[in-house]
Amino acid sequence: MYDYAAGKSDWMAAGLPTEGSAAGRPTAATVARREVPICDLEESLRNVRERVRAAGWDTCVVVNGKGIVMGLLRADQLGQDGDVTAGSAMRPGPSTFRPHVAIEEMAKVMAARDLPNVPVTTSAGELIGLLVREDAERAVHEDQRGPS
């Protein structure tokens, strides 16, 4: 007997197919952007800010050496004095969400808490991607409209 401990959450985070009544419906993992700016705790905020803005983002996910989410740098944090480290400027311990959460639920939570974006992580806290609120809301509308 074998235990696939990372389970359905890990399977869906990898974008692998599923079966069932909700198979193919969008989730946090399917809508989250995978190519997002990341930095480590020791990087200077000035460097991070330049890199993030050059990439057209206003948010950076701070991760440790294992890719575990440690904090977020949103516009307010990125605008701080550039001489500090990302680790000292970040908002530590942000709410993270699992990849299998239905996109309708994600859109509701993000609207209720006025969150512009949220990290989607494995149960161990490893970054999968960043879910942007506009993307979540668009995905809900498209899902409700059904296939064209």
């Binding site: 007997m1 074998y2 696939y4 990372a6 359905k8 990898a14 069932g20 198979a23 299998h100 149960s123």
Partner: protein, 67 residues
């Protein structure tokens, strides 16, 4: 005790004929499960469950994650 495995091993075992078993509640299984998985809720796993599994094939169990 079951042997803990990762995604690649799970895929390889299933490709070789292992049986996938989801132990989450029925509603969650019905909504979404791994291709080919069967449903045996955790509370019903006991000696009697052997009847629904082929004894000669390995079994891979899973739930949402390890949290």
């Amino acid at each position: 005790m079951p042997t803990e495995i990762g995604r690649a091993d799970a895929q390889q075992l299933v490709a070789k004929g292992a049986q996938l078993v989801e132990v989450l509640p029925k509603e969650e299984f019905d909504e979404r499960h791994l291709p080919g998985a069967i449903h045996i809720p955790l509370r019903k796993i006991d000696a009697g469950v052997r009847a629904s599994l082929a004894p000669e094939r390995p079994v891979v169990v899973y739930c949402w994650d390890s949290a």
